[in-house]
C-alpha cells in the first residue's frame, strides 16, 4: 500500500469516526481535499461530452467525445474517443493512473492507424487546445499540494469550505496557488480560482449545473475561463450513466484502436 493511499484511508476512517460528520469538528484542508478526491462517484461511468472552446472574440469550436471511466482518484482509467468533427472522428485517448507513479497515456490516430504512448512528463499541457490542462481531466494527487482551510462561506446558496492549495514543488503546476470552494454537503468542488506565479488571477473554474444521477452528485456543465486571455472552455456531460459494469478490457490499447461506430 502506498503512503498516500494509507493517508487517504486513515483520513476516511477518521472522518467516519467523527461523531458529527456535518462539521461539529472542523475538518482540516487536507481532510477536505481528501474527501473531495474519495467521494463516491460509482465504479464506472459513461457519458457524452461536448467540449466548446470560445475565444475572446466569440469564435467557437465544438468537439464531441465519448468518455468511459473506471475507478477513481489515483486508480482511475479513462478512455476517450472523439465523435466529431468528422476529420478527427475516432481519435482515441487512454489514461491509466497509478498510485505514486506517472500515468500511462496512449493516443490513437485512425488516419494513420497508429497507437503511440505519450510519456506523461508534462501534466500542465492543454487538453485538446482547451483551457483545461491534462491534470484537470485525469486528476491531480491530493498529496502534491499543501492544503489550508481558509474559511467557510456561502456560494450560490451553498455552504462551502474555501481551501487554499499550494503546490509543494513549484514546478509541478502552472499555478502558484488555487482556491477551491467545496460544498459541505457533498464535497463537490463548485468553483476554483487559480493564481499564476506572479500571484495574478489566471483561471476561473465554475460548475454551472449539478444534478444527482443514480444517487451521485454529477457535474452536467462546467466552464474554465482563462482570465488573462479571455478564452474559455465549456464542457457539458450528457447521457451520463454510472455502474454499467464496464469490463477491464475496455481500457486497453486494443479497445483504444477500435473506436465506437
Amino acid at each position: 500500500m502506498t503512503k498516500r493511499a494509507a493517508i487517504a484511508i486513515a483520513v476516511v476512517i477518521a472522518a467516519a469516526l467523527t461523531p458529527s460528520p456535518s462539521g461539529a469538528v472542523e475538518l482540516s484542508g487536507l481532510e477536505i481535499m481528501t474527501r473531495v478526491e474519495q467521494r463516491e462517484i460509482g465504479k464506472d461511468e459513461r457519458s457524452q461530452v461536448t467540449l466548446t472552446l470560445i475565444t475572446k472574440e466569440g469564435q467557437r469550436r465544438e468537439r464531441k467525445l465519448l468518455l468511459q471511466r473506471q475507478g477513481k482518484a489515483d486508480r482511475k482509467k479513462v478512455l476517450i474517443h472523439f465523435l466529431s468533427p468528422a476529420d478527427v472522428r475516432g481519435v482515441g485517448f487512454l489514461v491509466w493512473r497509478h498510485p505514486g507513479k506517472d500515468d500511462d497515456r496512449w493516443l490513437f490516430l485512425p488516419a494513420l492507424n497508429m497507437v503511440r504512448r505519450i510519456a506523461a512528463a508534462d501534466k500542465r499541457s492543454s487538453f485538446v487546445g482547451s483551457d483545461f490542462v491534462y491534470e484537470d481531466v485525469a486528476g491531480r494527487d491530493v498529496g502534491q499540494d499543501t492544503h489550508t482551510l481558509l474559511r467557510s462561506e456561502a456560494l450560490g446558496g451553498q455552504d462551502c469550505y474555501v481551501v487554499k492549495s499550494v503546490p509543494k514543488d513549484n514546478r509541478s503546476a502552472e499555478f502558484s496557488s488555487k482556491l477551491s470552494w467545496v460544498r459541505k454537503d457533498n464535497f463537490v468542488v463548485i468553483q476554483e480560482r487559480y493564481a499564476d506565479k506572479r500571484g495574478e488571477d489566471l483561471k476561473l473554474f465554475t460548475v454551472d449545473r449539478l444534478e444527482v444521477i443514480q444517487g451521485i452528485p454529477t457535474v452536467r456543465k462546467m466552464t474554465m475561463r482563462n482570465l488573462q486571455t479571455g478564452h474559455r472552455s465549456e464542457v457539458t456531460y450528457d447521457q451520463v450513466q454510472y455502474n454499467l459494469g464496464l469490463k477491464d478490457e475496455v481500457f486497453t490499447e486494443r479497445y483504444l484502436a477500435r473506436p465506437p461506430a
Partner: protein
C-alpha cells in the same frame, strides 16, 4: 488694426509684456503633463484599414505586437551546464516582471517540444532540467538541431547564441521592462554577453532618448545662438528679446499641444527647434531699427517707421511659413498632422509677438543706450558689408555666368534626386555603435531576424489549411521568400505538420514531409493541441483552419525590405496560382512599410500643396505674378540642391528628411520675401537699378546673412546628438539656411538684372510711401529724405 496694436505696445510696454507673460504662464503650466508616444502604429489613425486588419489578425492568431528579444551569446557555445543554468535562471526572473506576458515567453525552459523515443511520444518543455552529463548535453543538442523550428530561433546554427522571446503587454513600457531585464542580467557573472533587441526596446529607448537629447541640445543650440547674437548686436536686450520670442512661441505651442492631451511624438519633439529657426523676425526688426534710429534720432517714430517697413515682409513670411506647415495637416499621418498644426500655431504666436513684445521692448530701451549701441554696430560691420558688396557685384555684373552656373547645379541636383532611395528604418535612428544597433546587428547575424512580418493565407472555405496541397504550397512560398537576402527564418503550419509527422514516425527523417490526407493533418493538429501550448498552434492556424499565418523574420528594419517581400509574394502567386486562397501581409515590418509610404506621400503631397500656397500668397502680396515667380526661384533652387545632395550621398529619404522639406520651404521663402520687398521699396526711391540692387544685397542682405549664419551655427550643434534624426535635422537646417541665403543674394539680383523690365512692373505693395533711409556705408546713395 496692426498699427493700433503696435501703438498700444509702445504706449503701454509694461502692460503688454505683463499680458504676454501671463498668457505664456497659462500655456507653461501645461508642460509638466507631457507624455510621449513612440509607437509607430500610432502614426496611422486607429480606424485606418491597416491597423484594423492588423489588430484583428493579432486577435485571430493570439499574437503579441510587442516582443522584446534577449539574445544570450557565448563564443564557446551556449550548450554547457553553466550557460544553460543562467538561461533557466534568467527566464524564471523574466517571468516575474510586471508587464511581461508570462504564458507566451519563449525560452529553453518555457518552450514545448514533442519528441519520439521508440513508440513513445514525449510532450514536455524543451529543457525540463538543465542537462549536466555529456550524454544529457548531447541529447539536448540533438533535440534542438533535429527540430528545424528551433534552429535560428532558440539556437543559432553555430551554437553560440540562444534567445528569450519576451512578449509584453500593449500598455507596458518597453524600455522600463528592458531595464528590469538588464537588472536581472547584471546579477549573472559569466562569459556570456547579452543583447536586447526588438521593436518595443527601440521605440521606447528612442522615446526616452528623444527627451534627453532635446533637453540637452535645445539649450545648447539656444546658448550658441545667444552668443552669436550677442557678438553681432552687442546688446543683451536684443538677444534677450529674440530668446523671449522663441521661448514664448515654444511654450505656447507645446503648452497647447500638451494641454489638449496629445502625446509628444518624435515629430512634435522637434517643434522647439523648428520654432527657434522660424522666430527670426526679431533679428530683421532690430536690424532695421538700428539703421532707422540714427536717422530719426527719435525713438517712438523710429519704432513706428521700423514696424511699418518690416510689417509686410514679416507678416508675409510668417503667413507663408504657417501655411506651409498647416498644409501638413492634409496628410493621414497623425503625428505629422499634429506637428504641422502646432508649428503653424507657434509661427502665428511669433507673428503676434513681433508686433507686441518686440516694439514694447524697443519702447523700453533707453535712448542714450541705443546711441551707444549703434556706435558699436558701425564698427563691426566692415567685413560683412565688404563681402556682401562683392557678392552683389558678382551677381549684378556677372549675371550670365551666375545663371549658367546655377543651371548646371540644377541639372546635377535633378540627377541626384533620381538617386534618392525612399526608406525608413527605426534602428538606424540610433548611431552605428549604439548598444541597440549592435544588439540588432548581432542578433540578425546569429538568429533568424529581429523584424517580424506576417503573411496570412486566407481561404474561402473552412478546413482549407488541413489540405495537404495547401500546406505544400505554403512550404513552396516560404522557400521562395527565403531566397531573398532580407528574409531570415520563416515558420508556418507546414513546418509544424512536417515536424509532427516525423515525430509520429519514430523520428524517421524520411517523414519530414506533409502527410497525404486531410484527416491525417487534422488529427495531427488535434494531437498538437494536446501536446503543446495552445499558443504554439493558434499562432499558426485559426480555429476553423480557414486562415494560416506564415511568420517572416526579416534581417533588417528597412521599409524597402518588406516592399521586396510583397513584390516576391505577388510574383509567386501570379506564376503559381492557388485558387481560393489569397495572401495578406501584416505585422510590424509591414506596418512600418505602410506608414513609411504614407509619410512620404503625405509629405510630398503636403509639400506640393504648400509650394502652391506659398506661390499664391507671394503673388497676392506682391500683386505681381512675375515677382511671385522670381521670388520663387531661390526657393526651388535651394530645395533642389539639398535633395540632390541627399541623393548623391546615399542618405535614405526617411521621415526626418521628408519633414525638412516643408521647413526648408518656409525658411528659404523668408529670405526671398525680405529681399524682394525691400528692393521694391528702395527702387521706388532710387530708380537706379544696379544701385538699388546693390543696396538691397548689402543692407537687408546683412540681416539675411546674419540670420542665416546665426541659425546655421545654432543648428550645427545638433550634429553632436546621439540620435541620427536630430543630426540630420541639425545639419540640414544649417545647410538650408546658408544655401538659401546665398541663393537669394546671388540669384535674385542676377535675375532682376537679367530682366530689368521686372523691376519696372508696377508693384503697389501694401506699404505707404516710405520714409527714406540714409546713406549706407560703402554704398553711394544720395537719396532724398522723405518726410512724415
Amino acid at each position: 488694426m496692426r498699427e493700433r496694436i503696435v501703438g498700444f505696445a509702445i504706449k503701454r510696454p509694461r502692460v503688454t509684456l505683463a499680458a504676454l507673460a501671463l498668457v505664456t504662464l497659462a500655456f507653461g503650466i501645461q508642460l509638466p503633463k507631457m507624455k510621449s508616444d513612440t509607437d509607430p502604429k500610432h502614426m496611422l489613425p486607429a480606424t485606418s484599414p491597416v491597423r484594423v486588419y492588423n489588430d484583428k489578425m493579432e486577435a485571430w492568431f493570439g499574437l503579441h505586437a510587442n516582443v522584446i528579444v534577449l539574445g544570450i551569446v557565448n563564443r564557446d557555445g551556449v550548450l554547457n551546464p553553466a550557460t544553460l543554468e543562467r538561461v533557466a535562471r534568467i527566464t524564471d526572473q523574466v517571468l516575474r516582471i510586471q508587464g511581461v506576458i508570462a504564458r507566451d515567453v519563449a525560452s529553453f525552459t518555457t518552450s514545448d517540444d514533442v519528441l519520439a523515443r521508440g513508440d513513445s511520444l514525449y510532450a514536455r518543455h524543451l529543457m525540463e532540467e538543465v542537462p549536466r552529463t555529456p550524454a544529457q548535453l548531447a541529447a539536448f543538442r540533438k533535440a534542438l538541431y533535429e527540430n528545424p523550428m528551433l534552429v535560428e530561433r532558440l539556437i543559432s546554427k553555430d551554437g553560440t547564441a540562444t534567445a528569450i522571446y519576451i512578449p509584453i503587454e500593449a500598455t507596458a513600457n518597453g524600455r522600463e521592462i528592458a531595464d528590469r531585464i538588464r537588472a536581472v542580467i547584471a546579477t549573472e557573472h559569466g562569459p556570456e554577453r547579452y543583447y536586447l533587441a526588438g521593436d518595443p526596446v527601440a521605440r521606447d529607448t528612442f522615446g526616452a532618448e528623444m527627451f534627453r537629447q532635446m533637453a540637452l541640445f535645445s539649450p545648447i543650440a539656444g546658448l550658441v545662438m545667444f552668443l552669436a547674437l550677442l557678438l553681432m548686436f552687442r546688446s543683451l536686450t536684443v538677444v534677450g528679446t529674440y530668446m523671449a520670442v522663441a521661448m514664448a512661441s515654444v511654450i505656447w505651442s507645446m503648452g497647447a499641444l500638451i494641454g489638449l492631451g496629445l502625446p509628444v511624438h518624435i515629430m512634435s519633439s522637434m517643434i522647439p527647434v523648428f520654432l527657434m529657426a522660424i522666430s527670426t523676425d526679431t533679428v530683421h526688426i532690430f536690424n532695421e531699427f538700428f539703421f532707422r534710429f540714427p536717422e530719426t534720432q527719435e525713438k517712438r517714430s523710429a519704432i513706428l517707421q521700423t514696424m511699418r517697413v518690416v510689417a509686410s515682409p514679416v507678416i508675409l513670411t510668417d503667413l507663408t511659413t504657417a501655411a506651409g506647415f498647416a498644409s501638413l495637416a492634409a496628410g493621414h499621418i497623425i503625428p505629422v498632422r499634429v506637428f504641422g498644426l502646432f508649428v503653424a500655431f507657434g509661427t502665428l504666436a511669433i507673428l503676434l509677438m513681433s508686433f507686441t513684445l518686440v516694439p514694447a521692448v524697443m519702447a523700453l530701451m533707453k535712448e542714450e543706450k541705443l546711441s551707444g549701441l549703434l556706435g558699436k554696430e558701425e564698427r563691426t560691420q566692415g567685413p560683412t558689408v565688404r563681402w556682401l558688396q562683392s557678392l552683389g557685384r558678382v551677381a549684378i555684373h556677372g549675371h550670365r555666368a551666375v545663371m549658367a552656373g546655377g543651371l548646371i547645379l540644377v541639372v546635377l541636383a535633378i540627377w541626384g534626386i533620381t538617386l534618392i532611395r525612399v526608406n525608413n528604418n527605426m534602428v538606424t535612428w540610433f548611431k552605428p555603435h549604439s548598444e541597440l544597433r549592435e544588439a540588432d546587428r548581432i542578433m540578425n547575424d546569429l538568429l533568424g531576424g529581429t523584424a517580424t512580418a506576417y503573411l496570412v493565407a486566407v481561404a474561402r472555405d473552412a478546413d482549407a489549411m488541413n489540405r495537404p496541397e495547401v500546406l505544400r504550397y505554403l512550404e513552396g512560398l516560404q522557400r521562395d521568400l527565403e531566397g531573398l537576402p532580407e528574409v531570415g527564418k520563416t515558420t508556418s503550419l507546414a513546418n509544424l505538420v512536417k515536424r509532427i509527422n516525423r515525430v509520429m514516425h519514430r523520428n524517421d527523417p524520411r517523414f519530414e514531409a506533409i502527410p497525404d490526407s486531410d484527416r491525417a493533418v487534422a488529427q495531427y493538429l488535434l494531437l498538437l493541441s494536446m501536446a503543446a501550448k495552445p499558443s504554439d498552434l493558434n499562432s499558426l492556424v485559426d480555429y476553423s483552419a480557414q486562415q494560416a499565418n506564415i511568420w517572416l523574420q526579416l534581417k533588417t528594419w528597412d521599409a524597402v525590405a518588406m516592399g521586396a517581400v510583397m513584390d516576391r509574394v505577388g510574383a509567386y502567386t501570379r506564376t503559381h496560382p492557388l485558387p481560393g486562397v489569397e495572401f495578406k501581409p501584416a505585422g510590424i515590418a509591414y506596418f512600418n512599410k505602410v506608414w513609411n509610404d504614407e509619410v512620404l506621400w503625405g509629405m510630398v503631397h503636403g509639400f506640393l500643396l504648400s509650394l502652391v500656397l506659398v506661390f499664391f500668397l507671394m503673388v497676392a502680396d506682391f500683386r505681381s505674378l512675375r515677382w511671385g515667380a522670381v521670388a520663387f526661384i531661390p526657393l526651388i533652387f535651394t530645395i533642389l540642391l539639398i535633395y540632390g545632395f541627399v541623393g548623391f550621398v546615399g542618405k535614405d529619404f526617411d521621415m526626418p528628411i521628408s519633414v525638412l522639406s516643408t521647413l526648408s520651404l518656409g525658411l528659404a521663402v523668408d529670405f526671398a520675401i525680405h529681399f524682394v520687398r525691400r528692393f521694391q521699396q528702395r527702387y521706388r526711391q532710387d530708380p537706379d537699378l544696379e544701385r538699388a540692387l546693390l543696396w538691397t544685397v548689402v543692407r537687408p542682405g546683412r540681416g539675411i546673412v546674419r540670420n542665416a549664419g546665426l541659425f546655421a551655427l545654432g543648428f550645427s550643434v545638433m550634429v553632436f546628438a546621439d540620435l541620427t534624426p536630430y543630426i540630420t535635422v541639425g545639419a540640414f537646417v544649417a545647410a538650408i539656411m546658408l544655401l538659401s541665403s546665398v541663393a537669394t543674394l546671388l540669384y535674385l539680383p542676377a535675375l532682376v538684372r537679367m530682366f530689368p523690365s521686372l523691376a519696372r512692373s508696377p508693384t503697389p505693395g501694401d506699404s505707404p510711401p516710405l520714409p527714406a533711409v540714409s546713406n549706407q556705408p560703402g554704398v553711394e546713395n544720395p537719396s532724398p529724405r522723405a518726410n512724415r
